[in-house]
Every structure is written in C-alpha cells, then in structure tokens.
Amino acid sequence: MSNHHKSRRYHLINRLFSYELRSIFRDPAVLMFCVFVPLGYPLLYSFIYNEEVVREVPVAVVDDNRTGLSREFVRKVDATADVNIVAHCADMAEAKALVRERKVYGVIYMPTDFTRSLARGEQVSIGAYADLSGMLYYKAILTAATNVSLDLNARIKVERMPSTTNEQDRVTQQPIAYEEVSLFNPQAGFATFLIPAVLILVLHQTLLLGIGILAGTDRDKGRNRLLRPLVKTPTALASAVAVKGMAWLLVYLPVSVYVCGVVPHLFSLVQLSSPLHMACLFVPFLLATIFFAITISYFVRHREAVILLVVFSSVIFLFISGISWPGSAIPPVWKAVGYILPSTFGINAFIAMNNMGASLMDVRPSLILLWVQAGIYFLTACASLWGRARETRQ
C-alpha cells in the first residue's frame, strides 16, 4: 500500500509542479512582471545612469578682481571636466538672475582684493555657491574649485620661498604627498553604485508581484478551496509549498542569470564574482524571497491589488538596505525592519561579491541569514497556504 501511496503522491507533486509552471506562463500579468519587466527594466535603468558622472556643470563667474591671477583661476576652473563656465557676470545680482532662470547651477565669486591680499601674504577666500538641488552639481563645483585652489596654492608657496632648487620646491609644495584610490568603483560613478542594488530589487519585487498576482487570481476565482487536499497533512502541506517554491526557482534562476549576469555585462559594470559563487548566493536569496512572497500573498484580496501593495515599497526597501543611506547611520528600528526582508541581505551580499570581489567567507553572515529567512518563511508560507485553503469565500 505504501508503494501505491508513494506513487500517488509523486503523481500529485508532479501535477502540482506543472500546474504552477503553467499558471506562471499562461497568466499575461505574471508573464509581464516576471519575464518582461526583468528583461526590460534593468536595461532602462542602466540607460538612465549610463553616463555615470556629471560633467561640465554650467556655472557663472563674478570676477570683481579682474587681474591676471583671477582670470587664471577662472580659466583653470573652466578647464576642469566637472565645470563649464557659461557666463561672466558683472555682479552677483546678474549671476543670481541666471540661477533663477536655471541657466547656471552655481556661482563662483572672486573678491575685489584677491590679488592684493595674496601679494600682501594674506589668506584670501573665494566664494563658491550652489543650491543643493542636486548633490552631484554641488560636488562638481566644490571639486573643481578645490582642485584649482590647491594647484595655485602650491605654486604661490613656491614663489614666496626665497631662491631654492627644484627639489626643494617640490618639498615645499607638499612635504607629505598623498595618493587617493577609489576602490571597486574607480570613477565614483552613479551606475556602478546604484544598478547592482536595483537589479536585486527587481528580482525581489517582481517575485512579490508575480506570486501575489497568482494568489489573488486564485481568490478571485474561488479556487482557494482547491488547495484543501494539499493541506490535509503536514507533509502534504510542506511538499506543496516546496513544490511551489521549486517551480518559481526554476523560472527565476534563468531570469537571475540574465538580470545579474548579462545586464551588468552589457553595460560594462563591475563583475568580480564567479558563476558558482553567485549560485551560492542566489539559491538562498530566491528561496527566501519566494517563501516570503507566498507568505505575504495571504493578504492579497484580489489579483490586481498586489500592485498597489508592492510597488511603492521598492524605494523603501532600497533605502533600508543601506546602499544609498549608509547602513551605519540607519536607526535601529529600521535596521530591525531590514532584517525581515530578503532584499537587504541579497543586495548587500551581491554588492560585496559582485562589486567588491568578496569571497563566500566574507559574506557568510548574509548567506546564513538568507538561509534562516528561507527556513522561517517556508514555515510561514505553509501557514499562509493553510489559511488560504481554509478560507470560505462568498
């Protein structure tokens, strides 16, 4: 009899597996969110941020000094990659008018006594103004002005030294030299910084949407009672959830390869990890996300409602993961909320391995937590399915 039962159960599992796959591929909404969005959306995002950095920010100059040295400073600022001087204004009022029309994003002001103070051996300050409408504008203007001032400072220092040798000049300019190295994102670019997190989030959110839509459809069509035979015994329930998970995993492994393997390659983003190591991350990440999605799909009243529940959370999940806003500055409450989400560990581990070349050992805490989440959410997913099956719908 046990053989008969076994073969019946295998038969049931097989049918459930193919049923789940069929419903994924037959539902236009699920197809759109789980195939087309992962296909297209990362491309669109990479296209937006493809330039990585902002160059030639338009800036106005007010030169109240009008000497050779002040003009040299302005010329050198103009020559930097960051800033483009588009207007020389007679006074601040004129410059402000340009800011007001948003023709320039910042103003550099050379004070009247610029050259005279320098000749007297006094310190002189150059005003630089930018509104904080974009951090990158501010950064570009600050970087350009600072670099030029350091350059001129070094020269002025040497000029002030009484007759010296070249070697002594070099020491005077900078007794201790320094070297700056940007690791893992050499050009400090925006795409390299943001895209990897977005890629993981695309997988996470589309899974929540896809699984939620299917659950909502079941409820719409009153199919939840069909789940009843699946939840009769704990083993049947567990295998039903596992089979669901496996079906989604089968669909999402190739999607993940495309989203996190092919897309970064297409846009020449950093890729430092090996496929095998990536698999060690993606299996627990996808499982945790799938079971998390099955869990929360309990709350989906009907098919389209899930879109309203999930889409807005993307930005919140992104910030909670500690990529945009440094993790060390996130208040404990929100950090705790972040521990609930598979995306938090998925994003951090993916960036560590893919962008920073971390080994599996380095990201071990994240991987362990993802497996723990997968385990816990497996149980809650069972509870969710059980609850749905017991529901009687009007």
């Binding site: 909404a29 969110f33 959306y41 296209f47 937006i48 941020y49 330039e51 902002v54 007001r100 320098l118 051996g121 006094e122 002189v124 300050s125 150059i126 005003g127 630089a128 930018a130 509104d131 904080l132 974009g134 203007i141 002005a145 001032s149 350091l150 001129l152 002025i156 220092k157 002030r160 900078q174 007794p175 201790i176 320094y178 070297e179 700056e180 190295v181 940007s182 400090a188 925006f190 009243r301 098919r303 389209e304 409602a305 879109i307 309203l308 889409v311 807005f312 993307s314 919140i316 910030f319 806003w325 440094p326 060390s328 929100w334 960036i351 920073m356 070349g357 080994s359 380095d362 990201v363």
Partner: protein, 383 residues
C-alpha cells in the same frame, strides 16, 4: 453627481485597500524617510586605519581623522590586506594607510606618500569619507610645514596664509547644512505619494470594469460620463489633497525644512502635483483600459519618476531622449518647483512653465472623457 460621489465614498469606505494606499502608506513613507535620515548628514561612518609608521606624527594624523564629523572612531588594522578584507565584508567604508617610515622621511624631506582608499560602492558614505581623508592629508602636509614656520616666528595667521593662500568658501544655498534628509525626502516622499496618485484613479475605474459595475455607475450618473468620472475622482482628490497638506505641514511646518518661498507656495505646488498625477493616471487608464495594464503602466511611471526627476542623477547628464521624456513625469515638474520655491525662495511665477505643465496634466481629464465613455460602456474585464 451627488449619487456618484456617495457611491464612491461607500466603495472607498468598504475597501481597506483604498485607505491603506491613500492615507496609511503615503504617511508611513513620509515617516519612514524623515526618521531614516533624521541625522541629516551621516555621522560617525566607520573608517579603517593602517598605521605602519607607529610614530607620534602618524598617531596624531589618526587622532585628527577621527575628530572629523563624518568619520567614526577608526578601527586599526595591521596591514592593508586586512583592511581591504574588512571593506569587502562591509565593516568599513574606507581606510587610511600610513606606510612605515613616513615621519622619518618627512623629516628628511624625502616626500613620503600616504594613501587612502575609498569604497565607492557606497557612494554617499564613500564621498563623505573621501572628503575627510583628503582634508586630513592636506592638513598632514601642512602640519609638517607649520612647525617650521612657527619656529621662524610666524604668527598663526601668517602661517595659515602661507600654507593655504587661497581657500574655497563653499556655500550650499538653501540647505547650508547639506542635510540629506532635506535633500532627498523632499523628492522621495512626493515620489512615493505619486505612485498612489497614479494608481488609485486607475484602480477605481478599472475595478468598475472588473466587477461589472460600470453600467451601474453610468446609470447612477444618469448617463453623463463627466458626472460619473468627476464624481468618482472628487472624493479621492479631496482625501489626497488632505494627505498632501499633512505631508507639507509635516515637512515644512513641523520638521522645519527650508521653505524660503513660504509654506503656502509649497502647498500650492503639492495641490497641483496631486491633481496632475491623478490626471495622468486617468490618461494612462484611457490609453490602456484594463486594470492590469493601467496599473502596470502606472507602476512603471511611478518608479521611473525617482530616477528621471533629476534629484539623484542630474537630467543634464542623461541621454537626450531621456531629457525629452522628463517632461512627461509630474515628479520632474514638482522637483523643479520645489527647488524654485522652497530651496531658492523665488515666487512660483518664476517657474511658470512647470506650473503650466502640471496644469496640463490635470487638464488631460476632459480629453479622456469621450474615450472613457466607450471604455465604460463597451469594454469588459480582461484578466
């Protein structure tokens, strides 16, 4: 029309999804962002230090480094490899390397090199640490020279004028503290709000088709399509306007975010934004008159708004095609109006083209009506 309004109010009251997405989620998101970035500027970021020099000079560099605002008390590592590994584990955002013999060589005037490594995978944290470490390197150089100058009898003022003849006095106008909460929340909150502003009109019109109640709706409106649609949108608009008002009051009244043009102008901008987004939502539904497609388009638009509005990554650095597309995103206009009115304090009229754009979005509604009638009369629900 009163009947339609009453009917819509009943629908809104009986479905928790309406209240969640019209009131609870937008306000929750506001609370989330304002508390998440409550610090304003991230402080005490963990930084690694590799001090192979072990002299009083190197120790003083390290001490000074941890005195900076953004930099946390450093974590010492024995060698660069250890520091790099800590960086890969995500424990530190950067490290400062003082090689063996730095101070000896500085005294011998052999120009030693110190170096610092910044992890730009975390752009904000990386940039802040970079600023501190670079400043420190300049100071380290200066400190060596300053000792000599003092010995020659220079006063501090003379010494500083010699070491740094030109200084840059950088002003972030409108947000002088470089408060990231002000910088980001001002755009993220309307962005999240916008997602619901797009979606709720679509949802409420689409569910009429889904539940086969569109005929009943038209009957209640006595066949006037304008009454039917306006009657449905009016209660939603009122709730959204109230939520928008709460957000404006919370940001500019309670948290005292800079609002140089006066809170009234920001309130007007917010109201325009609410109406514009709702208008655009109806337009999207008219273009794609199924619940699923409409909501999908709305989510695409809503999520894309964050990137394309130019708050994080400037529009001028995007592909020209995308620069043109920005005009179709209400959040872009909201952002420019916010910069104009709240940050820079210019009157609203100064940025009238953007006000006009928002109005155009809202005025899409009458254009949609004829087609909406066809949709509500003839179309049926597609899963």
């Amino acid at each position: 029309m009163i009947q339609v309004i009453r009917r819509e109010l009943r629908r809104m009251a009986t479905q928790p999804l309406y209240w969640l997405s019209m009131v609870v989620f937008p306000l929750m998101a506001t609370l989330f962002f304002t508390t998440l970035m409550g610090e304003g500027l991230p402080e005490q970021l963990p930084l690694g230090v590799v001090d192979e020099d072990h002299t009083s000079t190197s120790r003083s560099i390290v001490r000074n480094l941890s005195a900076f605002q953004s930099t946390a008390t450093h974590i010492a590592y024995a060698n660069p490899t250890e520091a790099r590994k800590a960086m890969q584990r995500g424990e530190i955002y950067g490290y400062y390397l003082i090689p063996r013999g730095t101070s000896r060589e500085a005294q011998l005037q052999r120009v030693p090199t110190v170096s610092f490594y910044t992890n730009y995978s975390y752009l904000v944290a990386g940039s802040l640490l970079y600023r501190d470490m670079r400043m420190m390197s300049e100071l380290a150089s200066g400190a060596a020279a300053r000792t000599v100058l003092y010995a020659h009898g220079a006063t501090e003022r003379m010494a500083m004028a010699y070491l740094q003849p030109i200084v840059i006095d950088m002003h972030a106008t409108g947000n002088p503290w470089i408060n990231y909460n002000v910088y980001l929340t001002n755009c993220l909150v309307p962005g999240v709000f916008g997602i619901f502003l797009f979606m709720i009109p679509i949802y409420s019109l689409g569910t009429e088709l889904k539940w086969g109640t569109s005929g009943e709706l038209l009957r209640t409106a006595r066949g006037h399509i304008s009454h039917a649609v306006l009657g449905k949108l009016l209660p939603q608009a009122i709730v959204f306007l109230l939520v928008g008002t709460v957000i404006v009051l919370w940001l500019y009244g309670y948290l005292r975010f800079p609002c140089h043009g006066g809170i009234l102008s920001m309130w007007i901008v917010m109201c325009l934004y609410v109406l514009a987004c709702m208008g655009w939502g109806v337009f999207l539904f008219t273009m794609a008159p199924t619940l699923r497609l409409g909501l999908s388009l709305a989510s695409l638009w809503g999520v894309l708004s964050f990137s394309i509005c130019g708050m994080s990554f400037p529009v001028m650095a995007m592909h020209p095609v995308l620069q043109g597309l920005t005009w179709f995103f209400p959040l872009r206009h909201y952002f420019i109006l916010y910069v104009n009115s709240a940050l820079d304090g210019y009157p609203l009229l100064n940025a009238w083209p953007y006000v006009a754009c928002l109005l155009c979005f809202a005025l899409l509604l009458p254009l949609c009506l004829p087609r909406l009638r066809t949709v509500l009369e003839r179309y049926c629900y597609v899963a």
